[in-house]
Homo-oligomer: 621 residues x 2
């Protein structure tokens, strides 16, 4: 098979099929088969393309922003599960996941590890078992939850259910990103507060210093100082530089050192934290509880279905110029396997890392700083002179799509499981983890369309660029759109801090039908075309999910127009609920013969996207 094939006409599609052949569930393994067939020809290049500076930089960056939050979540889980999950379990889980996914997955850019959500899930289940009085059965119970989750994962993969991820637009993925960003920020504060509680008073100072160091170092990448290579180097290695610096600082004898900072705890290498063998005796769980574990396992699958696949989508999102094809079904099957293994050895289950996965792709992207010349004059009607200014713009030229960075990260995790490197981890003050949470959460928050739209609405009108498509919308409509996203975020957050936390995947997932069914009735086609867009819209990505879906608002608008009669004529804004100023945009996205129409609409989408996310790159870098 030719690696350069055209993914827009991929054979994996459900369009134009009828009868039993059109039912996904009746044709098992079809998605997985095509995922492998599509990606396998690229395997050798996935290795070969890994030998360059960018991959090296990406490896270091992703290792640090995977390791540090993983350790922090593990501290959280240790507190919440009375020590059942310790540092050795966290490292084992991260290493296992990275080894499996770097070598066997179709989407090696999606880094897999321990997230905040699995930590939340694990200690909520622990609290529930405590309430049910079976806390001594927690290891076996959570093991069965994992087994059921593995089984339902496999079902979802086999029956091609990952196809539905193509309906994910920025509406839900950015709401989820916002939710995770806020959870990270809150975790940072909880960590500092917990450290204060353990009479560790310099923690807040260290965490803030660390946070601002990272923000500063990454910000240097966006300046015009030094040379492109030097400033990228500094920004690439922001996490290692800051971690080593502040760890060193914390060991200088003085007030900070004397304040007795708590450091990462450690135990004997390669053994479970509590005294047990690695294999959980899951066969000892009473049958009654095995079946109680089933719905909990399904909830976990729902969580991973959304969380893992959104990781893959954002890691392959539209701002990255990707060439290699995706494979959602195969990867979700693999995730079932790691759930199974993770379950029976009693480690926290890994899945796609939501704020980190796009950072991985970002750090593998070759960006070019180009010079843009502008001529400027003040807006005085008499007009000043045009003065020339030079400015930097950043554009992504190429992504180093390969498996090596992910694989090296796996090896690094294996390395840190050994005694000597565990001791190295022990030197890191725990306060730095709060800083990691703030840094990762903060960069996520600023990049989300909720933030961008709110800032847009705050901006004084006259300074908005005329090329910004949102200028054709009323601010109240934009805020109304943001309102729906914020509702999703607020509900998810509300649930997360209660015992009902394990139910929150249902809320997150319900954002997809909300967007698909309710929103087209509340907003016009034009509004949604400007405010929303599929999270990943490259054919290489969509091929794995059965191709590009037709947006409901577009379909509805067309039906409306057909009903209104006329073919080349536009209904004069009737029934669309839209205000003035949209006619131009609609006519551009409107009635043409089919292909031309699709092309034009793509253009509008593209423009709208660029207008809405001008600072996405800055947010990440």
């Amino acid at each position: 098979m030719d690696p350069s094939s055209n993914y827009a006409s991929d054979p994996y599609t459900w369009e134009g099929l009828s009868g039993w052949k059109s039912y996904r569930t009746l044709r098992p393994f079809r998605g997985m088969y095509w995922d492998v067939r599509r990606r396998l020809p690229w395997y050798w290049s996935d290795i070969r393309d890994g030998f360059n500076y960018r991959t090296m930089a990406g490896t270091v960056r992703i290792f640090f922003i995977n390791l540090l939050p993983a350790l922090a979540f593990q501290l959280d889980m240790t507190r919440g599960t009375d020590g059942y999950f310790g540092i050795n379990e966290a490292l084992f889980s991260s290493a296992l996941a990275a080894l499996v996914f770097s070598t066997l997955s179709c989407q090696p850019l999606t880094v897999v590890g321990i997230t905040g959500l699995i930590s939340l899930f694990n200690y909520t289940v622990y609290a529930i078992t405590e309430q049910c009085g079976i806390v001594q059965l927690y290891p076996e119970f959570i093991c069965w939850v994992s087994i059921w989750a593995a089984i339902t994962h496999w079902m979802a993969a086999i029956f091609n259910w990952c196809d539905y991820m193509r309906y994910i637009t920025d509406f839900s993925s950015n709401a989820f990103g916002m939710y995770v960003g806020i959870i990270y920020m809150v975790k940072g504060f909880q960590e500092v507060t917990a450290l204060y509680g353990e009479s560790n008073p310099a923690a807040g100072f260290m965490a803030l210093c660390y946070f601002f160091s990272i923000v500063m170092l990454e910000w240097i990448g966006s300046t015009v100082w030094f040379t492109p290579n030097i400033r990228k180097f500094i920004s690439d290695y922001a996490y290692p530089i800051a971690t080593i610096w502040w760890t060193g600082f914390s060991h200088i004898p003085g007030h900070i050192y004397n304040s007795g900072l708590l450091r990462v705890p450690h135990s004997r290498a390669f053994y479970p934290t509590i005294d047990r063998s690695w294999l959980v005796p899951f066969w000892t769980l009473p049958v009654k509880w095995v079946f109680v574990a089933l719905p909990v396992g399904i909830l976990l699958t729902l969580l991973f279905y959304y969380d893992h696949n959104v990781s893959s989508l954002t890691a392959q999102a539209k701002q990255f110029p990707l060439k290699k094809p995706a494979g959602f079904h195969w990867d979700f099957f693999l995730l079932g396997c790691t759930c199974f293994i993770g379950g029976i050895v009693g480690i926290p289950l890994p899945n796609g890392l939501v704020p980190q996965a796009p950072v991985h792709t970002d750090s593998l992207t070759e960006y070019k700083d180009s010079l843009v010349t502008s001529k400027e004059k003040d807006d005085d009607p008499e007009g000043g002179e045009w003065v020339q200014h030079n400015r930097k713009v950043v554009s992504a030229t190429l992504v180093r799509e390969q498996r090596i960075s992910h694989f090296l990260m796996a090896l690094a995790f294996v390395g840190f499981m050994t005694g000597p490197l565990l001791d190295v981890l022990h030197t890191i003050p725990r306060a730095l983890f709060a800083g990691v949470f703030w840094a990762v959460g903060f960069s996520g928050l600023t990049a989300m369309n909720i933030t961008q739209n709110l800032l847009y609405c705050l901006t004084e009108k006259r300074f908005v660029d005329p090329s910004d498509k949102r200028t054709t919308l009323k601010k109240s409509r934009i805020l109304f759109y943001v309102f729906w996203q914020m509702m999703g975020v607020a509900f998810s957050l509300g649930v997360s801090f209660t015992r009902a936390a394990i139910g929150f995947p249902v809320i997150i997932i319900s954002l997809i039908p909300l967007r698909w069914i309710l929103l087209p009735r509340l907003f016009t086609e034009e509004e949604l075309l400007i405010l929303d867009a599929p999270t990943a819209d490259a054919d290489t990505v969509l091929a794995s999910m059965g191709g590009r879906p037709t947006l409901p608002e577009v379909r509805m608008a067309e039906e409306k127009r057909r009903l209104d009669g006329g073919d080349g004529e536009l209904g004069d804004g009737t029934g669309s609920g839209s205000s003035s100023g949209l006619g131009d945009l609609r006519s551009r996205a409107g009635f043409k013969d089919d292909e031309e129409k699709e092309l034009e609409r793509d253009e509008v989408r593209e423009e709208a996207r660029q207008a809405v996310q001008p600072t996405l790159r800055t947010g990440h870098a």
Copy 2:
């Protein structure tokens, strides 16, 4: 006298005089007389112009950034003088100075109060008296130092010696600003370390939070969010908002509160901190020590001569569109009076506040946010389309020049000397003072030409605006210029941290002859025209110092050309040590008949200044 007179032809000048009339010292009171005569006609407008929103905002801002560092320096002095100078002395001194200068001075924009340098001076003198074994005579000794200083102040004012301040260019004033900024940053760290030492471990956290709150709030003023009035309001009240917020935060029961933050100490209102009467019995000091106090007093006069007058210069610097005339001689006489009073009642001597004085003027300046339209395309030779962008530029339209803000500040200080408001001060955690030092020092550091030139040299060449005059200079020459400034900063800093600290005014002042005699021999006329400029160059300011001086590099270059022969012809770069690319600039600043030449040179200076300090405004605001 007409307030709108032309200050370029002010009668106070020494040009064209000969014989005894040309000697400043032989014509006492001439400068003071003209200062008063020039300013008096504006007195009523100084009051009338104070009733507007901007004055209100300026009052609050200057009160906070005067009060908080003053309290912090007082803590420092208390430690360094074994409790002789306490909070009541600091408030008394600030109130006295503000009352005198707001009502009687010629330059009410120059706020007067307690600086870090007088704190340094006072505790260094304390250490010296300790070494001499007369520490019990410290009050009388420092009183005599103040009396001698008062006498030498009066002499300097009477004999018109303040005229020499017209030779101050950015070379020395920015080096001094840098020095003070660094001292402030260091003080911040010392304060945090001292608080850690007094087992006050949340101090660092609080100080950082406070610092970043202020940076953030002031930064909002530079965005395009909200409306111009709202964003200016937020930025105007950054200090009060942050101070009230974090003081409140520190009282919330919790880990921070329990950590036992130290707060501002206080004692009985209106009484000296130690048990003594307000009048120091200076007549009891043995005559021997009276004469030892003389050279120390002269050093203090040197310090104030530079520090106070540079405050006035920067408060009336070229970026502010001022209309009312200056009066250096009269104000320096007044300063002698406050030295005398301050000396005999035993309070720290006030003088012009260096980083705060320009902030005062800045907060009284009406800035206009205007829209600038730019067209932009990437620098691809094939060329993209021109895309239109809208951007904000800030320009100063008007300064509210008046006495009311200064006077209200004085009243506020008097108010805080009373019991109830002293108790309010007592609620402020001392940790915030470290944050004040960082915020004030940091905004000073970023605005200095040393920082600007270093950043210029760090910038990748292609992104530098072609209109920046520095592009015509070699980077090595710019760095060589920065080197001389840094030498001044480094020597001053070096001395400040030793027992020789009281000698540092000599170093600072020696930068003026260095600039005036050595630099024109090391740099070409063009280099200095681009890199340096008089700190205040308005005729309203220069009138008080005998008018605009001829820059030595310009005079030397002209003499050189005259020697080289020819009148309209330029020597082809010979003997000027300059490299290529300067011919154009020199020809513009070069040989024309006298008036035209002066005009053109002004233009070059203006352009060079705008090029070198593009972000000065941002730095302050």
